[in-house]
Amino acid sequence: MTHTIEKSQADTPGPETQAMLEVQGLNGWYGESHVLHDVNLTVNKGEVVTLLGRNGAGKTTTLKAIMGLLKSRSGSIRFNGTELIDLPARDIARLGIGYVPDDRGIFGSLSVLENLLLPPKVADGGFDLPAIYELFPNLEERLDSYGNKLSGGEQQMLSIARILRTGALFVLMDEPTEGLAPVIIHQIGHTVRRLKKAGFTILLVEQNFHFARELADRHYIVQEGKVVDQFRNDEIADNLEKIQGYLGI
């Protein structure tokens, strides 16, 4: 009951402080096909960083490789100094990385409450249920519903909400706005901003450039399994044409 979202705001560090996640020379394969080529990227503590790119560019695969769900990978992924490249997904999660997958990963045969309580706590200081219900009031009304009865927006909120309970302060979020109505996208944007304020570090995959632009500190452009460019958010206006060229919009 004591934990509120604003509470940890005070100890939120500035974005420049230290690298939380450092990916260097990351290569990845789906079977025989080489899909990630020497990906380099850094996410600093307290930042929201996006991976932008067209469909099939390798953004989701990059998140899966970080999470340990891409079985065949090489290079270096360091999280708070720990090398992840040889660790299985369950150990990576235990280090404090939360994963919100592009299909939302809701368990249809579990109730909303069971989905919420499923991920084990990996660190102290996660949100308690009242704090989660404050952030996502719709979920509280649907605790007994089964996961497969939820709307897309509710599933997305549940997917984010259940990570907040675990105490993981680093979240990999894969296209949280995909296929959702503008009003829900707005709510999710609001949530991401509050999480950032609460001290979360977020690596966000997005196709929705306008959504990304309103939230992120920095952006990486991913093309054909490579990081080809990067921009700070305040550089976007000057590079708009270039970015739109990359994204094909």
């Binding site: 999470m67 340990g68 769900l69 299985p88 997904a89 369950r90 150990d91 999660a93 235990r94 994963y99 997958p101 990963g105 368990f107 249809g108 045969s109 579990l110 069971e114 309580l117 499923l118 991920p119 084990p120 990996v122 675990t166």
Partner: protein, 295 residues
């Protein structure tokens, strides 16, 4: 007392009781198969052989070590369940990525090996196992006499089925299991050790079959092939109930035992085939089984 279609009530109730006892074994065995199939996607053909081992371990405990039934009821499932976990780790896990047919063939082969080894040492004639002293005798229910041990089997089967259902549907561990059945990758991305969960689940399913074996020891003769006929019926039960469905296994097990018992009263010629006729009908009209989810 009334007579139904010329059947004396004693005969009717006797067959109902027998049906419920068979149904108890069907339920506990198909429950173990359902738990295993749900998470591992393995059709555990060795289930009948492991049931037989449960009965044999119980017989060995009594014969060689003088350990009575009540302790065997706990020790035997633990021993056979542990063996199951070794089988999962060493033999089934390497087949995980391959077609399900491979694990079916492996467990079928294991059945032949286990049955063969026991036949080699114990022959095919049954070993007697006494009914525990506290459960001997009969109880007069007014309308029929109930052998106490047979009533005990039904009560134990109901308790074990309910406890398993509760564990899977109502506890945190059960929610891990259901979630891993649906999407193991996502569960591992939350920091849960899915391979360990798989091993424990297989061990638990096997322990259930061994538990049924211990219960069976005093009523059926303990012999190396005791699981063979039973397991075929149990496979029919889980197809009818719905592969991997917990409720389907429990309700299907008891009710099909009952149907079989009643068939023995009204049309004895069909009593050994009735379950397979029902299976064929279910496959025709609802291929995923009565409690199964449509794929």
């Amino acid at each position: 007392m009334f007579e139904l279609l010329g059947i004396p009530p004693q005969a009717l109730f006797g067959q109902v009781l027998l049906g419920l006892i068979n149904g108890s074994f069907y339920a506990v065995l198909s429950l173990g198969l359902a738990v295993i199939f749900g998470l591992l996607n393995i059709i555990n053909f060795a289930h009948g052989a492991l049931y037989m081992m449960g009965a044999f371990v119980s017989w060995m405990l009594l014969t060689y070590l003088g350990i009575p039934f009540w302790f065997a009821l706990v020790i035997s499932p633990l021993v056979v369940g542990a063996l199951g976990m070794v089988i999962e780790r060493t033999m089934l896990r390497p087949l995980h990525e391959l077609d399900h047919l491979y694990s079916l063939l492996l467990t079928f082969g294991l059945t032949l090996v286990i049955t063969g080894v026991f036949q080699n040492f114990y022959g095919v004639s049954g070993k007697p196992y006494p009914i525990p002293a506290a459960l001997t005798g009969v109880m007069n229910l007014g309308f029929m006499f109930l052998p106490i041990y047979r009533g005990f089997i039904i009560v134990m089967a109901v308790i074990v089925c309910f406890a398993t259902w509760f564990l899977i549907e109502k506890t945190r561990l059960g929610s891990y299991l259901r979630a891993a059945t649906e999407n193991p990758e996502m569960v591992s991305a939350f920091g849960i050790n899915v391979p360990l969960l798989v091993t424990l689940t297989y061990g638990f399913g096997v322990a259930l079959s061994a538990f049924a074996g211990v219960l069976a020891a005093p009523v059926y003769s303990v012999n190396p092939v005791m699981g063979n006929d039973l397991i075929i019926v149990v496979f029919a039960v889980i197809v009818i109930g719905g592969m991997g469905s917990i409720m389907g296994a429990i309700i299907g097990g008891f009710s099909l035992g009952l149907v079989e018992g009643l068939t023995k009263v009204f049309y004895p010629e069909a009593s050994t085939t009735i379950i397979f006729i029902i299976m064929a009908l279910v496959l025709l009209f609802k291929p995923s089984g009565i409690f199964g989810r449509e794929v």
